[in-house]
């Protein structure tokens, strides 16, 4: 194998070179801008993650799994995963092997940007085919075929998106279309170009036979140059269209993974980490199907994908509208193949509006958890603190049940907010008013620390989530009552009687996706009745519609969400719906045709008296 073209250059590489230089410059400037907008402490975290071996390992693993193989999409829908993986991984391998070929055969051209891309144009095969050459040619043809199969699927998907498991997909803009058609063209053109040159440069199972076929009716070598030109133009155009299209997610996703693994969070809207998130969105539209608001066609426009599109276009009014509408159930974040934390960006956006509200904290001084008792005997305070939370106070059946459970299991406990407490602060945080929540968080922290507890049992997942995330309660174990009850059952402190009821469990957003608690409640339910499956469970559970997350969704819209959620729960005709969040309980109770109970009530009703 040796170089065929002297100087290793031909004019047709120009479009590609313009494109690649443009995109590299663009990406570098973008990267610098992202880093500039990352606050100091976060930048330090990022630097540390580059020298931490386990962080490096995690970065590499995540980039391979998410950017190349697309494991997340595979898990959701194999064929869709294959489409992404074949293009991404195949293209990646073509680039890698291209570079290896250059390094092996024409080492003098190492580092020339276009050389590996157009390798087969510039080289000539002489004498016998070596095993090594055949091996690389085979690999190149194989990965080209892999990519082509993915492109084929992509073309098919454009026509029949249902076939690949997506109900709804986004409408592409101009740049998206240009980039899309270029992407479709790149690999068939490469196949053509390499096939035409296969007689000179050599080829493998794909390009060689094509070459022979072409020779039967296209004997002229005149076709070689135009196809290489076309291939180069397609590549160049793709790179130029990329920053303005959805394909920007290809380079940005890797950056997002690194930033996310370093523990960074959204601080500024549209800048810094948020910019990495926004440009990582591939506009795939999986979030349209995921959004609980999709029960009504008019609400489809509030999906996260459009939110991010408007962020890219800086359309403040529309951005605010979606940010306020969102239920913050987190399903779109959980299902996003790139893991864009759109809820975090929405929360950041909410900090920019309604900032002249007045807050009155004067009531805080009057709240105390342990009213002074007149009893002389010194009662040692219990290490378990029960924190019901304000939503639970609106559903007293849960409190009564918990009191009964504590009593039956002989658990000594203090009831933190029996006589009324202070809001946990999460409603304010979700509304984007984290600063306003600080005062009440401090008050609660002070009360909790004064109690001397080591474990807090919470009935409301909203409180649990905020205490885990925004409170500084080191050394105190925070558990939801589902975990607590499950532990009591495991420790044989609570005996439950089995009934013949069939029960379905609704995963509350804040408990499931929020705190990752899925198994304990199901385990409890299996101790009491027959657990039926819902249509959308765990990660895919649908918001009850009562979420405190939305600031502007009307009651009618919420009702439609609730009805849809209930219908999905009742798919297997259970006798009862069981949930583990006072807000879900309240919301479902009004709408469901079957009884709805909190898991604590279910347990309290079925305690076996010894």
């Amino acid at each position: 194998m040796r170089e065929r073209i002297l100087g290793g250059y031909d004019n047709f590489v120009l479009p590609f070179m313009i494109g690649i230089v443009f995109i590299i410059t663009y990406l570098l400037i973008g990267l610098i801008r992202v880093i500039i907008h990352i606050p100091g402490p976060d930048r330090k975290k990022l630097l540390l993650s580059f020298v931490n071996p386990s962080a490096i390992y995690k970065n590499i693993r995540d980039i391979i799994c998410d950017c190349l193989i697309h494991v997340k999409i595979f898990k959701r829908k194999a064929i869709l995963g294959y489409m992404h993986a074949s293009i991404a991984f195949g293209w990646f391998m073509l680039i890698v092997i291209g570079h290896i070929e250059v390094a092996l055969y024409v080492p003098q051209r190492n580092g020339v940007l276009y050389y590996p891309v157009f390798f087969r144009y510039f080289v000539k095969q002489e004498g016998d085919i070596t095993l090594r050459g055949a091996f690389f040619f085979f690999l190149m043809d194989f990965f080209l075929l892999l990519v082509l199969s993915g492109i084929g699927l992509a073309m098919y998907k454009r026509v029949h998106s249902m076939a690949l498991g997506m109900r709804r997909t986004t409408k592409p803009g101009f740049a998206d279309r240009l980039a899309l058609y270029c992407l479709w063209a790149i690999f068939p053109l490469r196949l053509l170009a390499e096939s035409f040159t296969a007689g000179i440069s050599g080829g493998s199972f794909l390009t060689k036979p094509m070459n022979m076929l072409f020779q039967n009716f296209l004997s002229d070598d005149m076709h070689i140059l135009p196809t290489w030109w076309a291939y180069s133009v397609a590549l160049g155009l793709f790179f130029i269209a990329m920053p303005f299209s959805r394909y920007m997610h290809i380079p940005t996703e890797a950056l997002l993974i690194v930033l996310r693994n370093a523990g960074l969070k959204v601080t500024k809207i549209r800048k810094g980490f948020a910019a990495a998130e926004i440009y990582s969105c591939s506009s795939c539209g999986l979030c349209i199907d995921a959004c609980p608001m999709n029960t009504q066609k008019k609400n489809l426009k509030y999906s996260s994908v459009y939110f991010i599109r408007f962020l890219r276009r800086n359309r403040t009014k529309k951005i605010n509208k979606i940010a306020e509408k969102c239920l913050m159930c987190g399903k779109c974040v959980a299902l996003c193949p790139v893991g864009v934390d759109s809820c975090g960006i929405k929360r950041a956006q909410r900090t920019t509006v309604y900032n002249n509200l007045k807050y009155d904290y004067s009531y805080l001084t009057s709240v105390s958890h342990n009213p002074p008792t007149n009893t002389n005997e010194e009662k040692k305070s219990s290490s378990i603190l029960y924190f019901a939370g304000c939503m639970t106070h609106l559903t007293p059946s849960i409190i009564k049940s918990m009191e009964k459970i504590f009593e039956s299991a002989n658990v000594d406990y203090q009831f933190a907010d029996k006589d009324g407490g202070v809001c946990c602060g999460r409603p304010l945080i979700i509304a984007g008013k984290a600063d306003a929540a600080k005062e009440i968080i401090n008050k609660n922290t002070e009360l909790i620390k004064a109690s001397g507890c080591t474990t807090i049992v919470l009935s409301c997942p909203i409180c649990l989530k905020v205490m885990q995330e925004d409170y500084n309660l080191k050394g105190i174990n925070l558990i939801h009552h589902t975990q607590f009850i499950n532990q009591l059952i495991n420790d044989n402190k609570l005996k439950l009687s089995k009934t013949s009821d069939s029960l379905v469990y609704h995963d509350p957003c804040e408990l499931g996706r929020g705190c990752n608690i899925y198994d304990e409640p199901r385990n409890i339910i299996q101790n009491i009745g027959e657990l039926k499956q819902a249509q959308s469970e765990k990660l895919e559970s649908i918001c009850c519609g009562g979420s405190i997350g939305s600031l502007s969704l009307t009651y009618d819209d919420r009702t439609k969400i609730t009805q849809n959620s209930v219908n999905k729960l009742l798919i297997n005709n259970p006798d009862k719906i069981i949930t583990a969040c006072p807000l879900c309980l309240k919301t479902f109770k009004d709408q469901a045709p079957v009884p709805v109970e909190d898991i604590a009530l279910l347990v309290a009703k079925n305690i076996e008296v010894a």
């Binding site: 609106l394 007293p396 059946s397 029996k418 009324g420 009702t559 309240k586």
Partner: protein, 340 residues
């Protein structure tokens, strides 16, 4: 036309009055009542606002006037079919009636208080509803009412409350609450009585007098603000949290009895029966009427009429007037049909 049959569904005040009037006009009236007694909610009430007359004083003559009406109690409508100019009505007792006109006087359901779980009905002993209190006034016995010293009334339970799906005002609960507050003061003169209201809608004749009497004579306290939640202490007393919106302060009181003024929903049985001939409830749950500005008697179906609370919350005089009006409308309708 030989057939002069008319079916009246619902034996409450509206149905009774309409039946009596139609019978008087010479029609062959069938009155269908699902319960074993005529009178509807009125039959369960003790005294009526604003004058405080006994419910029997109103109900007994209403029932008496229906003497010639064919009345079926414990009977439900199983099916209604529209024929060309008549309705074929099949009853649960096996009887089928061919009727020229059908009157829905299906009334209302009391809002189920347990839906507002934060008020603790069915969870705490000392929480009762307005209907429970009327039964207490009649029977003077209720295990939940034991010499209460502090009593609260919560207005607008399941009314003007979007979260329960009821945006509308139930119209009669303000006056009922004020009446009941006075009455309970008569039973327990030493008790302190507080009414938690959003707005006091004392719109009717002599209602305002009742409100003044409650304050002057009975010393009932009125606090403007919605109750947010109800808890219970070790002595099974109720801890009620509310906001006094006039002084913009949160408020916490300990009570021995809490009465929930449940509002009106359209009768669920009524909705079921009406759906048999494709009549729909409006967004607020009550039946849609043909032309709301021209009264609420006409439905979207020819020959089907409404009277009473089925088309929205109403006071007793309004309901009885509507029963009478419905009788005239039905009479006119049948005469026009004959002349055609």
């Amino acid at each position: 036309m030989a057939i002069k049959n008319i079916v009246v569904i619902g034996g409450g005040p509206a149905g009774l009055e309409a039946s009596a009037q139609l019978h008087y006009m010479g029609y062959n009236v069938f009155l269908i009542e699902k319960n074993d007694k005529l009178g509807g909610h009125l039959g369960k009430w003790d005294r009526l606002f604003p004058q405080g007359i006994q419910s029997e004083e109103l109900l007994n003559p209403l029932i008496k006037n229906t003497a010639g009406v064919k009345t079926f109690v414990n009977t439900e409508v199983v099916n209604i079919n529209k024929l060309e100019k008549q309705y074929n009505i099949i009853l649960s007792n096996g009887i089928t009636i061919l009727a020229r006109a059908v009157l829905f006087a299906t009334g209302f359901d009391l809002f189920p208080a347990s839906k507002k779980e934060e008020y603790g009905y069915g969870i705490y002993d000392k929480v009762i509803t307005n209907a429970d209190l009327e039964i207490f006034f009649r029977t003077k016995s209720d295990s939940r009412i034991v010499n209460p010293l502090k009593i609260g009334f919560v207005h607008c339970v399941g009314s003007r409350d979007e979260k329960t799906g009821n945006r509308q005002c139930s119209k009669v609960c303000c006056a009922t609450a004020v009446k009941q507050a006075c009455e309970i003061k008569e039973v327990f003169p030493n008790a302190e009585v507080i009414c938690f209201y959003m707005d006091l809608r004392m719109f009717g004749r002599k209602y305002e007098d009742l409100y003044l009497t409650a304050q002057k004579k009975y010393g009932v306290r009125f606090i403007r603000g919605r109750v947010s939640e109800v808890g219970e202490n070790i002595n099974h007393q109720l801890i009620v949290k509310a906001e006094d919106t006039l002084s913009s302060k949160p408020l916490k009181v300990t009570l021995d009895l809490l009465v929930l003024m449940c509002g009106m929903n359209n009768s669920s049985e009524g909705i079921k029966t009406a759906s048999l001939i494709g009549l729909k409830a409006d967004e607020d749950g009550f039946f849609e009427t043909l032309n709301p500005m021209q009264g609420s008697i006409f439905s979207h179906k020819k020959g089907v009429f409404y009277a009473g609370a089925a088309t929205g919350p109403k006071t007793l005089p309004e309901t009885i007037n509507e029963g009478r009006a419905a009788a005239i409308c039905i009479n006119n309708y049948i005469k026009e049909e004959i002349n055609e």
